[in-house]
């Protein structure tokens, strides 16, 4: 079983992103379960969503405390909240940012890090406003490329099923994101860093 946690802000489409990923993975023949952190969403406030993926039917129905992977839709959340809380050592983090993975040494110490400028891609394809771009389809494309778990066909079909508007623009954004991902492997911590952590 693979457990993911998504971090975004209200209005970015975080919950839709978890559903999109679930549908795409389901189209790949997986069992999936996606759900928002149960609460009251407000535009701009931190939003968390979860996703479980397995080859067997999923039994656990509780929040995910120790995810294998994180997807961060808004990089300002990295400093604002305890984003890596519970992340399994050696896990993966996918961040929506213009920055390179190497610019997140504190995250690389405990996880593999990938980055993609989903915001820039969303804006270029006219998804949402400039102040509030909708990045979920670009994130889907990036995740597909980063993990190899989702084929282009399933990605496109998931968008067709789940995104009610601007289908072509969303598919174009996801496709562009597939090629725009940057990755850095976990470098671990030096003995001194381990002692300090």
């Amino acid at each position: 079983m693979r457990e993911l946690r998504l971090h975004g802000r209200g209005g970015q489409g975080t919950v839709i992103a978890s559903k999109l990923l679930a549908v795409a993975l389901f189209l790949e023949g997986r069992e999936v379960q996606s759900f928002p952190m149960f609460g009251v969403e407000r535009r701009g406030s931190p939003v968390t969503a979860f996703l479980r993926v397995d080859d067997e039917p999923l039994k656990l129905r509780c929040e995910i405390e120790a995810p294998d992977e994180l997807i961060v839709l808004d990089p300002t959340l990295i400093d604002a909240t305890d984003i890596t809380s519970g992340l399994k050592p050696g896990g993966r983090i996918l961040i929506n940012t213009e920055q390179a993975p190497e610019e997140f040494p504190q995250l690389l110490a405990r996880a593999h890090v990938s980055t993609v400028d989903a915001t820039g891609i969303a804006v270029r394809h006219g998804l949402g406003g400039k102040a509030q771009p909708i990045v979920n389809t670009a994130i889907l494309g990036a995740y597909a490329a980063d993990t190899g778990l989702i084929t282009v066909e399933s990605m496109v079909n998931a968008i067709r099923e789940e995104v009610p508007v601007q289908i072509d623009a969303n598919i174009a954004a996801a496709t562009e994101a597939m090629g725009a991902i940057r990755h850095a492997a976990m470098r671990g911590m030096t003995a001194r860093e381990v002692a300090r952590a």
């Binding site: 679930a22 389901f26 996606s34 039994k59």
Partner: protein, 386 residues
Amino acid sequence: MKKVMVGNHAVAWGARLARVEVISAYPITPQTQVVEKLSEMCADGTLPARFIKVESEHSAMAAVIGASATGVRAFTASSSHGLLYMHEMLHWAAGARLPIVMADVNRAIGPGWNIWTDQNDSLSQRDTGWVQLYCETNQEVLDTTIMAFKLAESLNVPVMLTLDGFYLSHTAEPVEVPDQELVDRFLPKREASYKLDVDEPHAFGALVKPDAYMEMRWLQQEALQKVPAALDAIERDWRRMFGRSYGALEAYRAADAELLLVTSGTVTSTARAVVDARRAAGERIGLLKVKMFRPFPTALVREALRGVPRAAVLDRNISPGHGGIFAEELRSALYDLPDGERPELFGFVLGLGGRDITPAVIEDVIEQTRAGLRPTREDLWVGVNP
């Protein structure tokens, strides 16, 4: 066709496939998506039903009572305070023997104001005369919505199915959407024995004096007592046609168990994972899922728990001043078992107001049940910080 959908949409799909003819509902978190989806289906013509907009839940239930009395298939959904506001009309629907089906998205009652799940909303409707079915997965929600109409219409009793707020209502997972033609064969158009009909007038809801009121209640009770057998037959038909069934009660890995967890709703699913792990470690722990709360499946419960040394009941609800409500009902059902065959019953209260029930919480329940010879009190609270 399999689709990834949230529990609220599974409810809407179930109602649509059952070809409901009248819907009246008022939105409330976390049920709102049921109302949104059904009104969308009515608006785009995929569900040719009349959607009656109302100003309150009391009126929603009144509207479906009126509709059902004319012989059509009527549906509503609510949650928490909305369900409580329907309370008077719930009695009326059941007393009038109207086969209405409703979905309740289980949500706690305020104050403290809370939108998260527990079962106190539906359980406080225990004595209204409605059948109550607690669901575990979105598939079960969709299937049960359809089966509920067949059950309701076969005995003229209203049926409430429940799904945990957020844990099902807002959780997306794959759901097989049955073929409409097959559902039509399973559930033909409703044929009402008595109905409001301008061409053949009858009086409904008239004054019933002491000489006949008790007989009406007796007949209602007789009908409810036929529910377990009727549900069993309906589930067997469903299994034959769609390959799935659930049961009023389900024993999971219960053979030779020294300890049975007794659950309802989504806690069941997480508890299955805990049972699997314990069984893999060679421990004799199993599970009993109670789907049907009303009528209470007394005979089935006695049979399932007879001779089991210990049972741990997980109640996501509380009858203040007494204890967990499923535990109360189980104690009552088990009372007549002979000494030596009656399990030591540990009643746990947990997960109120949406507090998460993780595998660690269920492990704690198991350890507490094993630790004492007898429970120290009737209501054992888990994870509470007084």
